[in-house]
Every structure is written in structure tokens, then in C-alpha cells.
């Protein structure tokens, strides 16, 4: 009987089924998509982490490494196969450097063989080119011995060099960030490049502890490198990852094992970012499910009401209350039960499609249990709707079912009042809170405002439309014809109108908000990315001296239109140093309105400082002529010159000897790099060394009176520059003081001590890091802007030339980039490589914007956009169907009108107008609600996991997408209205008057 009934009402049943599927699917999509998004975030966090943050190096001196690592990784199927290794360290007779003898499984695949072969037998080693060893040479290491007689006589084991390797890239993950060899291939002072051997060497040699001379069984350290395998890592593994990290941290306390890793930092970033996804996603799902419930509520109600006559018949035949309820609920419950698996399947498919389209490739789509629970919970909304509708139908007087004009029941205000009150509270919370920076849940009420506003405005519109049409109804009585009269009468009295306006208003409100938020947020992402990236593309290169960077860029882009050299310091305050002219030419991110109307070209033009000649030194020996006070008795005063040496980022210091008390000449050899190219004299400093006992501190005044450099055996006198003392800026005579407290530095004045800068944020007199991260001086603000290229926080933009002159060297925190106006930088990169730069990576503003979109709020917004549009389409369909059904119920009345002489054209106008008024009212109410919600919420609800400090975001809603959505809705509804009207008109026949009115 139930199935027959469903078949009897197949259209409505199908609609209920479809509409029930949507909230179930929406509810299921959320957890599936959310899980995939969390996987994306988790993988991104792993990918962005340094090598040490992507795994662990488990080290033990107690052997059994494989078992220990197996225990450590037990249950973690997301880890790569451990890379096993062992090493021991030893000195070498006649060499003060330490040698590491290493075996790491697969080592030869990660070393470039320059000569010979890989070690294959015990006591064979592979040495680096920088070591100076030759193939066939036998090396003895102090601590690695072999026994030559049964009595225990031993000697250093002879390790045969069977091959020579060239160092591979230092960032090869195989080495887990270790510096087993110098990446530049230059010999180290204290540590020699590692010698690579095979495990058999350990078996055929012994290690002895330095000093004790004893045989040491455990002189080797075993290690295993375990990486997180991104391909197999998903959000479900985060908990296990945290447990592994906790185990790693406790390993050092509980055992002799040491687990080295920076996974903890990575985990912290990962947890923060995944946390930012949870609440927005939950709210999006809640709002969508709420909308789905509303649709379901009305449609299931329609289904139950469609059975009103049958239910009344059951009551007439004396069926008990329970039996009547079961009878009334049977069909909707069966449909809802069928909708659950279908909805979950659709949800799984939709989530798969969304994940495929919106998230990076390779993110696994799995079905978390939450998805099924959410689907069932969404279905319960339909059960509630069915139960309420059944209860209403089963308890209202049976005779009402058979009245010719059923009594109208007034719509209550209670629900509307509750919704409006909650909406008002949410709005107040949102407006009072200002910008929400916490996305973890405390402000969830405020984040639900868009959905509440949509529903609130829809409810108000549903009240307003009948009132307005009632007013107009009076006008149509007198003029306008029968069509408008009938249409307005129906809209004014029709309960279908109110329901449809609510559903359409809420659905389109949410859709308009979603589209507005998406367009505004996309714009904000693009704007933030444009400024944060600096220019269209930022190419990161390996650090070189600033002048080499500038020269390489100049050579690669002689026209000066497509590339600009940039060095970034993290601060705070942040510092961006670039070539001002090129910066302006490559169209770096800039908005004159944020800088008081100043253009980038004008701002850049104000940055360069004095171009005083720099003191270049080229040769093999340096000489300084100084006059000075006599050092106090017992004190030793050492003099140093500080040089910028080509090939070195850090400044080089050369000793110029002790001040003896007699003024005169001080000389020292220049670093080798100064023979090949120019070094730059950056400073003179002194170091006072006190006697064991002294009464007063030394104060020795030193003045530099002459400079010379020897090149190819000939001394050349250098022009004396203007001098400046860092600690006493007024002193310009080349003299400075060497003391215990307030020791001074003498520097050639080749720069503006307070660099001209574009300042962003409250920089004031704060010292800025400089390229050497010395935080020595403040800057002189020439332009104040709310945002500047490359700055993500408070910071300054300065001239690279001035910054270079100002700093002693370049700190390791400095990031070297080349900004380009081009999106495709392949040719530029090749040109830069030809100039000796090594391109490490590149990032376009679009990439960065995409990465913002991949954060929690961005992913939640995408979910909202897709689902809200789908829900709006469904709401439109449901409304058209409701109007069709309502008009069909009036077929008798329309037939009567036709029989009484009403023209078909008038009936057509009536049907068309009725539908257009209802749909347009709902859609426009939705548009209004969406724009109100966007106005209130945009800029307040989070768009970023960590909100950027600069630039100020415009939150501009693009008109075109909103107009497209609303226009498409109106167009589709108009077409649907035409089709529905024609279908209905065909069904109106005078013969129907023979039937009793339905």
C-alpha cells in the first residue's frame, strides 16, 4: 500500500526524495570535504616544513636500531621506509680536523662519483674531492683500529680510498639536513668531509675511545631516518603523528636514544591551520543543512498534506491515533530512509568532485564515520518535519478536510520572532566584536550571521509580500484586467507564497552571500598575495653578495623593466631592500591611495642615499697607517679591519696586530677572495685585552691616517674616505676609541646612517634589522604607506644599495629574491642562472592567492559557495513545483472562470504574474539578505587562518557574479513560469466542472 501510494504521488515523492537527498548529501559532503581539506592542510604543513620537520632521525649507541625504529613507527603507515645508517668520528694523525666515517643505506645514489667506485668491501671508503685524497690512497684514522696479532697488538686500520665524490645538494632529503660535507666543496677548518664506507668495515675494525685507548664495542652510532610519506599521509594520521612526536621527545629521557626532529614545530603549525578549518566548515554545513531542512520541512509537509484525504478517511473509519500517525508517516519515512544511502552516495560523489576540482591532486577521498552520522542527522530534520505535519493533519478536525473552503489558520509569530531575535543577537555580536581573529569556535554565533540574516529577511519578506499585494489588489479591482486581479488575489492569500518566499529568500540570501563573500575574498586574497609576493612573480635564489645579486639582475634584464633584486629580512620590523628604479619598473604591488597619493615611482625615487665612493680593496695584503695613544701598562690592544669578501655573506675580519705604543703601519694578508675580486673595507675595530689585574679601564684613541693594498707585489695607496664612528656619529676625523665599555667602530661614510625608507605601520624610531640583522639604526621615513610590496607586517622598504652599504654583511635570515613583472619567468630564470645565480624556487602572486584559498576559511568558503548555489537551484525548483501544485489545485476554479467567459490570455497572465511575483519576491529578498549579510560580515568573519596585517583589504563585492546568479535565477524562474503556466492552461477544461472540486 505504501509503495502504491508513493507511485500514486510519484512526482511529489520524487521531489521529496530529491530534496531529502540534498541536505543529507550536504551534511555528508562537509565531513568528507573537511577531512580532505584537513589532509591538504596537513600535507601542506609537512611540505612547507624544513627537512627536519618532515621526519625524525632516531639515533642510538646501543644497537638494534631496526627493532627500535620498528617500535617507534609501529602503527604509522604514513612513514617511509627507514633509511638506516651508522657513523663514527675520529681524528687523523697530523690533521686537526675531525673525520666522520659514515654508512647510510643508498648513499652512493646521492653522491656524485667523480672518480673510482663506491665502496663494496670492508675498509673501503669514498672520499670527497675537497679532502685531497686520491683513489688508491690508504688512510688511517686514530680511533679506528685493527688487530694485527693474536696478542692484541693493534694499529689504525688502513682504509682504502676507492672513489672520490662530489658533494650533492645540501637540501637532498636523503641526508636529513645534515652537513656531512661542505656543499660548496671548500675544505672546512675543523671538520673534514665525511668518508663513506660499508657496514662490513664496522665488523672488521674496532673503535677506541679517545683518551682511554680502550677497545670500544659501541663506538659506532646507529641511526635511522624516518620521513613522513606525503602520499600516504592524511588527516587521520595527525593524532598518530603527535603520539610519535611525544614518543620521540620522551625517548631521550627514558632511553639512550636521541630522536632529532623539528616535527613539533610543524605539528604546531599544522594543528593551528587545521583548527582554523573546523568551525567555519561546521557553520557552513550547519547553515546548509538548516536550509535543506527548511526545504525538506515544506516538501515533506506537502507530501503529508497531499495524503490529507486518506488520513481523514482513516480517521473516519475509526483508526486509532497511533495507527493514523503511522499511516501518515509511512510514506515520508520510507522516502527518507531511502534518501539516506542515496544522499550519502551523492555526498560522497559530490565531495569527490569538489575535492578533485578544488583541492590539490592526490588528496585521498575517504568516508569518515562523521559523514554518515551527519547524513542521518540531516535526515532527522525530515523525520521531524514529517512527524509535525502528520501530527497536524491527524489532529485537525476531520471535517476540515471536506469543507469546500478550508478555514485558514493564521501563521504564528513565535518562530519568526525567535529567528529574528537570534539574528539580531548574532548581528550585534558580529558588529560589536569587530574583526574576528579567532576561527576556533568562540565566535561561532557571529559566524552564523549570514545564514540567520538570510532567514530573517526571508521571513520578513514573506510577511511583507502578502501585505503589499493586498494593497495593490484594490487597484487591480478597478483597473488592470482580470489577470493581475487573480494573480494578486492568489499571492495575497496563498500560503504557498509565504513558504516559497521564505525558502527562496533564505536560499538565495545564502547563495548571494556566498557569491559576494567568494568574490570579495578572492579579491582580498589576490590583493594580499600581490602585496605579500611583492610582484607578479618572486623568484628565490641562493644567497650571494648583494652586489652580485644586483649585477646578475642587471645583466639578465638589461632593460630594467622585468626584474628587480630584492633582499628580505624578517624583522620585526620587516625590511625589504631593492633597487628602487627597477622596483617601480616591474610594477611591484603598490596603491597610491594607501600612500597619501604618492606613486611607487615617486616613492622609489626618494629612497637612494648618498653615493659616496666605497673603499675597494683588491690584492693580497692590506696596510693601515694609524696614530694612537699609548696603551696603558699591561693592556694589549688589538686592531682589526673588517672586510666584505666576495663569496662570503658574513664579513671577514683580519687582524692588524697589536698597538705597541708607537704609531705606524699595520699589515695583514687579505683573504684569498680579495685577490680575485674586489673586497670592501667596511670598518676598523679594536679589542682591548686587560691584564690580570687593573685599576682603570683602557681608553686608547686611534686615528687611521693612511690605507694601502698590495697587488701583484706593488703597494697602492688608497684614498682615505670620510669616516664615521658608529657610537659617536659626530666624529668625522678618522679617529675612534678602543675601550672596555663603549668600544667604538670606525667606518667609511659611504651611506646614509638613517636610510630613507617607505614605512608601513608604526615604525617610528625603531631600529630596523638591516641586511646584517644588526638592528643598528632607525630609518628616515620619506613616504608612509599602509602597505608596501613584500611586507606582511610592520616594516620598511629601502634602497638595496644603501642597505648593502649600511650593513657589515648579510645575515643568514636574509631571503634573496628577484621580483618580476612576468608570470612566465623561465627565460628570466635561465638568464639569472647564466649570471651565476641559483634559482631555488619561484612563487607567483596567483600561487600565493591559491595558498590562501587552501587555508581553512578559504576551503570552508568554497564549500559554502558550491553548496549554497546547489541549494538555491533546488529551492528554485521546489518553488516552481509548489506553485505548479498550488495552481493545479485551482484547476476547478480556473475552469469555472473560463466557463464564465474569462479569456485564456487573462488566465495566462494571472498564472504567469503569480509565479513571477512570488519568485521575484523571494529572489530579490535573497539578494537583499545576501548583500546585507555580506555588508555586515565581510571584513569581520575570518578569511585567513592568520589575518594579514597588511595590506588593508578592500572586501569589494564584485557586481558581475552576484548579478549573474540573481539574473540567472530570475531568467530561469521566468522560463519555468511560462512553461508551468502553459502546462496548467492545457489542463484547464470546462469538462472538469463536472467533477467535484478537489
Amino acid at each position: 500500500m505504501i509503495l502504491r501510494g508513493l507511485w500514486e504521488r510519484r512526482t511529489l515523492s520524487l521531489v521529496v526524495l530529491l530534496i531529502a537527498i540534498v541536505p543529507i548529501a550536504s551534511a555528508a559532503v562537509g565531513p568528507i570535504y573537511s577531512a580532505a581539506a584537513r589532509t591538504t592542510i596537513a600535507r601542506d604543513a609537512v611540505e612547507a616544513a624544513p627537512l627536519e620537520g618532515r621526519g625524525w632521525r632516531y639515533t642510538t649507541t646501543e644497537g638494534a636500531i631496526e627493532a627500535k625504529v620498528a617500535e617507534f613507527t609501529a602503527g604509522a603507515d604514513f612513514t617511509s621506509r627507514p633509511i638506516l645508517g651508522m657513523e663514527t668520528t675520529s681524528g687523523r694523525p697530523g690533521d686537526r680536523r675531525a673525520y666522520s666515517l659514515v654508512w647510510q643505506d643508498g648513499q652512493c645514489e646521492h653522491l656524485t662519483l667523480a672518480e673510482g667506485r663506491c665502496p663494496a668491501a670492508a675498509k673501503e671508503v669514498l672520499a670527497s674531492q675537497a679532502s685531497g685524497f686520491e683513489v688508491g690512497e690508504r688512510i688511517g684514522l686514530s680511533s679506528i683500529v685493527e688487530f694485527v696479532s693474536a696478542e692484541g697488538q693493534r694499529r689504525p686500520a688502513k682504509l682504502e680510498v676507492v672513489g672520490i665524490y662530489r658533494p650533492g645538494p645540501a637540501d637532498d632529503p636523503f641526508w636529513f639536513g645534515r652537513t656531512l660535507f661542505s656543499p660548496t666543496g671548500e675544505p672546512g677548518e675543523n671538520k673534514a668531509d665525511a668518508l663513506f664506507t660499508v657496514p662490513q668495515t664496522r665488523l672488521e675494525t674496532y673503535t677506541i675511545s679517545v683518551g682511554s685507548g680502550l677497545r670500544d664495542q659501541s663506538g659506532w652510532t646507529d641511526y635511522a631516518i624516518v620521513y613522513i610519506d606525503l602520499e600516504r599521509f592524511d588527516e587521520r594520521d595527525v593524532e598518530k603523528l603527535a603520539a610519535m612526536q611525544a614518543a620521540a621527545e620522551s625517548a631521550g629521557r627514558n632511553t639512550n636514544a636521541i630522536v632529532y626532529s623539528r616535527v613539533a614545530d610543524m605539528l604546531k603549525a599544522m594543528t593551528a591551520n587545521t583548527g582554523s578549518l573546523g568551525v567555519p566548515t561546521l557553520l557552513v554545513i550547519a547553515q546548509l543543512v538548516g536550509l535543506g531542512w527548511m526545504l525538506l520541512f515544506q516538501t515533506v509537509g506537502d507530501l503529508v498534506r497531499a495524503r490529507g484525504a486518506e488520513i481523514a478517511l482513516a480517521r473516519l473509519r475509526g483508526h486509532g491515533r497511533v495507527r493514523v500517525q503511522v499511516f501518515a508517516l509511512a510514506e515520508p519515512l520510507l522516502l527518507l530512509a531511502a534518501a539516506v544511502p542515496l544522499g550519502l552516495l551523492v555526498g560522497r560523489a559530490a565531495a569527490g568532485a569538489m575535492i578533485g576540482a578544488l583541492l590539490p591532486a592526490g588528496v585521498p577521498v575517504f568516508f569518515p564515520p562523521d559523514a554518515a552520522l551527519a547524513g542521518v542527522a540531516a535526515m532527522l530534520g525530515g523525520v521531524l518535519a514529517a512527524a509535525l505535519a502528520a501530527w497536524r493533519t491527524a489532529t485537525r478536525p476531520v471535517t476540515e478536510e471536506w469543507r469546500r473552503t478550508p478555514r485558514r489558520t493564521a501563521r504564528g509569530w513565535v518562530l519568526d520572532a525567535v529567528v529574528l531575535a537570534v539574528t539580531a543577537l548574532g548581528l550585534v555580536e558580529l558588529l560589536a566584536t569587530g574583526v574576528l581573529t579567532d576561527v576556533s569556535g568562540r565566535s561561532s554565533g557571529a559566524m552564523a550571521v549570514p545564514g540567520l540574516v538570510a532567514l530573517g529577511v526571508a521571513l520578513l519578506a514573506s510577511r511583507a509580500v502578502p501585505v503589499l499585494t493586498t494593497r495593490l489588489f484594490g487597484v487591480t479591482r478597478r483597473r488592470g484586467g482580470l489577470g493581475p486581479f487573480l494573480a494578486l488575489r492568489q499571492v495575497a492569500r496563498g500560503p504557498v507564497t509565504a513558504g516559497s518566499v521564505i525558502v527562496l529568500g533564505a536560499a538565495f540570501g545564502l547563495a548571494t552571500f556566498a557569491v559576494s563573500a567568494w568574490s570579495a575574498t578572492t579579491g582580498d586574497y589576490a590583493e594580499a598575495a600581490r602585496f605579500h609576493n611583492g610582484a607578479a612573480t618572486a623568484i628565490t635564489v641562493r644567497p650571494v653578495e648583494p652586489n652580485r645579486l644586483v649585477a646578475a639582475v642587471n645583466a639578465a634584464d638589461p632593460g630594467g623593466r622585468t626584474a628587480a633584486p630584492v633582499i628580505k629580512m624578517p624583522g620585526p620590523p620587516q625590511l625589504i631592500a631593492s633597487d628602487p628604479a627597477r622596483l617601480a619598473a616591474v610594477g611591484a604591488a603598490w596603491r597610491a591611495d594607501l600612500a597619501g597619493g604618492t606613486s611607487l615611482a615617486k616613492a622609489a625615487a626618494a629612497l637612494p642615499g648618498p653615493a659616496s665612493p666605497r673603499v675597494w680593496v683588491r690584492g693580497d695584503r692590506f696596510r693601515a697607517v694609524v696614530t694612537h695613544d699609548k696603551p696603558p701598562k699591561g693592556w694589549t690592544i688589538k686592531l682589526f679591519a673588517t672586510l666584505r669578501v666576495p663569496g662570503q655573506l658574513r664579513p671577514g675580519h683580519i687582524p692588524l696586530g697589536e698597538l705597541t705604543g708607537r704609531s705606524g703601519t699595520h699589515e695583514w694578508n687579505l683573504p684569498p677572495g680579495c685577490e680575485r675580486s674586489d673586497c670592501e673595507l667596511r670598518a676598523f675595530t679594536g679589542e682591548p685585552i686587560p691584564p690580570p689585574q687593573f685599576a682603570a679601564s683602557a681608553y686608547v684613541r686611534v686615528a687611521v691616517t693612511g690605507l694601502a693594498v698590495r697587488d701583484q707585489g706593488r703597494w697602492r695607496t688608497l684614498d682615505l674616505p670620510q669616516w664615521r664612528v658608529d657610537e659617536d656619529p659626530g666624529k668625522r676625523d678618522g679617529a675612534f676609541a678602543i675601550t672596555m665599555v663603549g668600544n667604538q667602530t670606525l667606518r667609511p661614510v659611504t651611506y646614509d646612517p638613517e636610510m630613507a625608507a617607505v614605512t608601513v605601520g608604526p615604525v617610528g624610531r625603531k631600529v630596523v634589522p638591516g641586511l646584517d640583522n644588526a638592528f643598528a639604526d632607525p630609518v628616515r621615513g620619506v613616504v608612509t604607506s599602509a602597505a608596501a610590496p613584500g611586507l606582511t607586517d610592520v616594516g620598511v622598504l629601502v634602497d638595496l644599495e644603501q642597505a648593502d652599504r649600511h650593513a657589515y654583511g648579510v645575515h643568514e635570515k636574509a631571503e634573496f629574491q628577484v621580483w618580476s613583472s612576468l608570470s612566465d619567468t623561465a627565460a628570466l630564470e635561465r638568464a639569472l642562472e647564466r649570471q651565476g645565480l641559483t634559482v631555488v624556487s619561484r612563487r607567483t602572486a596567483a600561487d600565493l592567492a591559491a595558498s590562501f584559498a587552501g587555508q581553512g576559511p578559504g576551503l570552508a568558503l568554497l564549500l559554502l559557495l558550491v553548496s549554497a548555489l546547489a541549494a538555491a537551484a533546488l529551492a528554485l525548483g521546489r518553488t516552481v513545483l509548489a506553485l505548479y501544485t498550488a495552481a493545479r489545485r485551482r484547476a476547478y476554479e480556473l475552469a469555472a472562470l473560463e466557463a464564465s467567459g474569462a479569456r485564456v490570455a487573462a488566465l495566462r497572465t494571472a498564472l504567469l504574474l503569480e509565479q513571477v511575483i512570488t519568485v521575484a519576491a523571494g529572489t530579490l529578498a535573497g539578494l537583499l539578505a545576501g548583500l546585507v549579510a555580506a555588508g555586515a560580515a565581510l571584513g569581520r568573519i575570518p578569511q585567513f587562518a592568520a589575518p594579514p596585517i597588511t595590506p588593508p583589504l578592500p572586501h569589494e563585492v564584485a557586481v558581475a557574479p552576484v548579478a549573474l546568479v540573481v539574473g540567472a535565477a530570475l531568467l530561469v524562474s521566468l522560463l519555468a513560469a511560462v512553461v508551468v503556466s502553459e502546462l496548467l492552461l492545457r489542463g484547464i477544461r470546462v469538462e472538469r466542472l463536472r467533477d467535484a472540486p478537489a
Partner: protein, 270 residues
């Protein structure tokens, strides 16, 4: 024994904020096995009275006994049970009595659901209304006449003590109408079923043992054995039947003349 007893029934309902008195001071007693035709113009309150007798409405005032039970003292459950066991009803529109997608047999079975299912009776009823060969044809696809006959069979499915029918022959040809009336009369004769039939069809009213005419919500007249009587109401009101309005038009004044066994009304000329 009376199956129906109405004592000063008043029924008021609210429509568009206006209270409408559908029935006023209706006193009516219908005995077991009686077949009563409820007559009267449209809107007189016939259907309302029928719904009251079906226990679908509770009187606004007055008391109503159905099969000896005071309706006002029955809770909904007992009222449902009373209706399930003892009352059968045929609604005015035959389609409304049926579930359109069910077969004739299933419709009869549906009416028996609340009581013990009686397949032989169902078969017998369908045979009596000439639908024993209806098969699985859904009721919705039957003709109006078939539907009306099936509606009567459905109403008799629970072997009711009280059969209520609202225009049961309105869509039937003469022959079918006669069959339906015979069916009702046979039920009354064989099972002692009391039938109350709302009808405008004189053939039906003449075929039943008693007529009750409702006018303006009151019992205006009764007819027994072919003779019509006016009914003196609670306050002594008497409704002049329409056929005498040309002698004593509404609004005119009359003189009362006392007779030995009653009174006579004579038009008083102003």
C-alpha cells in the same frame, strides 16, 4: 432502543471571525433499524448533523447519545473505537470515500482495519454492489457510479449499527440508485442497521421509513409512512413548510385558533 438521541443539539462554527450557528436546539431520536432520510435545502445543516452523528464533531451545546453512549463523555480513543465498530459513513463525493490507488477489495479491507478483518463479508458486500468482478482495478479508475456503490460497500464493511450516507445516489443512474437504496434497506432489515441518509432524491426519501427535514438548523418537519408533519420545537416554534408560504408568507401575521387536538393558523389581514 434508540441508536441516535439528540437533545437540544446546538452546533456553532467560526468562519472568517464570524460565528455561524449551523444547528440550533435539534431534538431527534432514531431507533434501531430505522431508515431516515435527512432532507432540507443546501446549507440547512444536514451535513453538519451527519458529521455530529458520525462523532466527527462534538456539539457546541446539548447532548448526543450514540448507541447509548454520551458523546460528550467519550474521549477521542473511545470515540474512534465507537466509530470503527458501529458507524459507517458515505461521504457526499464518492471519490472521497475511497483511496484511489487501491482496489475495491483493498478499500473495503482498509475500512475493516480498525476492527476485525472479515474477508467473507467484504466479498459479499462487493457482490451486493455488483463489484465482485472489479479485480485489481484501482478505485480511482472506476466510474462515478461504481465508486458510489463501492463507497456504500466500504461504509458497510464493519457491519455498522449506524450507517450515515450523504447523497449516496447523487451520481448514480436510477437502476444503480435503486440498488444502493435496496442495499441500505437490506442492511437495516437483515442486521438492524440504522441508516441516516442525506438526500435530495425523492425516490430515496420515499424508499426510507422516515424523513426528517432540517431548515435553518432546526428540525422543521418529519415524515412517516408518506405523511409529513411539522415539528414543534423546544420553544414552541413551528416552521411553516415552504409549500404553504403562499398562504402564510414569511413575515406575515397569523391568528392562532385553538382546536380540540391542536391549533390552526389563519392569516391575519392588517
Amino acid at each position: 432502543m434508540s441508536v441516535v438521541r439528540c437533545d437540544g443539539i446546538v452546533q456553532i462554527y467560526k468562519a472568517q471571525d464570524v460565528e455561524v450557528v449551523a444547528l440550533r436546539d435539534v431534538d431527534l431520536v432514531i431507533d434501531e433499524g430505522e431508515t431516515v432520510a435527512l432532507l432540507g435545502p443546501s446549507g440547512a445543516g444536514k451535513s453538519t448533523l451527519l458529521w455530529l452523528l458520525a462523532g466527527l464533531l462534538r456539539p457546541s451545546a446539548g447532548r448526543l447519545w450514540l448507541d447509548g453512549a454520551d458523546v460528550s463523555r467519550l474521549n477521542q480513543r473511545r470515540l474512534d473505537r465507537l466509530r470503527a465498530a458501529h458507524i459507517g459513513m458515505v461521504l457526499q463525493n464518492p471519490a472521497r470515500n475511497l483511496i484511489g490507488y487501491l482496489s475495491a477489495a483493498q478499500n473495503v479491507a482498509f475500512a475493516q482495519r480498525a476492527v476485525k478483518r472479515d474477508r467473507p463479508r467484504a466479498r459479499d458486500l462487493l457482490h451486493q454492489v455488483g463489484l465482485s468482478d472489479a479485480g485489481d482495478r484501482p478505485a480511482g479508475r472506476m466510474s462515478g457510479g461504481e465508486q458510489q456503490r463501492l463507497a456504500v460497500a466500504v461504509a458497510l464493511a464493519n457491519a455498522p449499527k449506524l450507517l450515515l450516507a450523504d447523497e449516496p445516489t447523487s451520481q448514480l443512474d436510477e437502476e444503480s440508485g435503486t440498488r444502493v437504496v435496496e442495499l441500505i434497506k437490506r442492511a437495516a432489515a437483515d442486521s438492524g442497521t440504522t441508516a441516516v441518509v442525506v438526500t435530495h432524491d425523492t425516490a430515496v426519501s420515499e424508499a426510507l421509513s422516515r424523513t426528517v427535514t432540517i431548515r435553518d438548523g432546526r428540525v422543521g418537519a418529519e415524515g412517516r409512512s408518506g405523511e409529513d408533519f411539522v415539528v414543534v420545537g423546544r420553544e414552541g416554534a413551528v416552521q411553516v413548510p415552504p409549500e404553504y408560504h403562499h398562504l402564510l408568507p414569511p413575515g406575515s401575521m397569523a391568528r392562532i385558533e385553538e382546536l380540540e387536538d391542536g391549533i390552526a393558523l389563519r392569516r391575519a389581514e392588517p
